[in-house]
Symmetry: C2
Subunit: 228 residues, 2 copies
């Protein structure tokens, strides 16, 4: 019996209609669905996908719990435990479809699992989803990038310690915890700022000016700073 | 009678299964479909979408021809002509669905039209598609970005005149015409290089090392340069 394939599948940013046909097909065609969290049905990825593919509720839902911890050793152990869980199904010849918010190639927890599984000789595949930054730009109804402007995606704003002075568009992710400092950097940049909190979710909020943005903000805040 | 809405809709990078449910619905529900080119049925966006939505062939297909020209004035005239074509349908109360390769917020020709239509008081909406760089990373089966690495998307490599020395991942688009120079920059960067030509198309080619990349390459070449 051949081994199964581990698929890392993006379900997009929140709106179930932004799922791809391929993501829907892979969920329908496979029985084992892994989800990033302790309680599969409480994960955002599940809650997006089940609206489009109701039969997901009756599949074998496998929790892969990899909490963010500072201790690199504990983190690595969690990744290995997650990979072992997935491998146990692959060894039975079953495919595993790991669902993830947004795209599976952009800051995705599946990457940790993929490195380990590939090193162990398992086959993996990535299926693209709509990224949060593309969706946020569409939601604000502005182009993310135009002409020949470059784009700089900065995922961890707490590490920002330099001005936003490169030409083109900046995308700042996960700014929530340091929003006051980030707002200062944005003001200095002279760029045109938009922010979307919880894009595509029921509690979505849109801000179209840096001065509108509150000093405290949620984790899923996405800032677009464009050249004027 | 109310005016129609102009939708800028990404159909993804090539594989019809990477279209979103929303893109498919908008094509099905609307009669007027605009396509970026002189011959609608010869555009890449059409050829992707018609595989997933065969009834597209029988819709009213509107060519919007905006060739790349160096003369800014001619360019602007072409954009205004394109917007006027679309507006003529909006004025009849019809929506126009403009299909575009990849995502409609990332280096998209719809942006030119959107600026003009918005200024004229028309309503526009953007619908995300899978970007070429996300799809290329999935195709090569590597994460585009991991951990807290930034990502820099450089669309016009012919303007590159500095080393690729920022931390994180570089995405270089449209490198075809200056590939020899680009390869030198990539070698100096010390980054791990992959390239996908015509991602998701029948003539797709993948290169997993800078030395494999030919000095001459197609327009739809996408390079991913990651930290080792």
């Amino acid at each position: 019996m051949g081994k199964g394939i581990a698929y890392g599948v993006g379900v997009g940013p929140g709106d179930p209609e932004l799922m791809t046909v391929k993501a829907i097909r892979l969920i329908r065609e496979n029985d084992v669905i892994a989800l990033p969290g302790q309680e599969p049905k409480e994960t955002t990825a599940y809650q997006i996908a089940v609206q489009m593919v109701p039969e997901l509720a009756d599949k074998e839902l496998v929790p892969v719990y990899m909490p963010m911890v500072h201790d690199k050793k504990v983190q690595q152990e969690n990744h290995e435990k997650g990979a072992a869980t997935i491998a146990s199904y692959l060894d039975q010849g079953k495919n595993v479809v790991y669902l993830t918010l947004g795209d599976s190639t952009v800051y995705c927890t599946f990457s940790y699992l993929q490195h380990i599984l590939e090193a162990q000789g398992y086959q993996t595949e990535l299926v693209s989803g709509i990224t949060s930054f593309c969706a946020a730009a569409a939601r604000v109804n502005i182009p993310l990038t135009e002409w020949q402007e470059p784009m700089h995606v900065i995922p961890a704003v707490h590490r920002l310690n330099e001005p936003l002075d490169l030409p083109g568009t900046y995308v700042l992710m996960k700014s929530g915890s340091k929003m006051k400092e980030v707002k200062d950097l944005l003001r200095q940049s002279g760029k045109k700022v938009s922010m979307v909190e919880n894009c595509g979710m029921p509690d979505e909020k849109i801000y179209l000016d840096v001065e509108e943005i509150p000093d405290e903000s949620g984790y899923f805040s996405l800032i677009i700073a464009k050249e004027q």
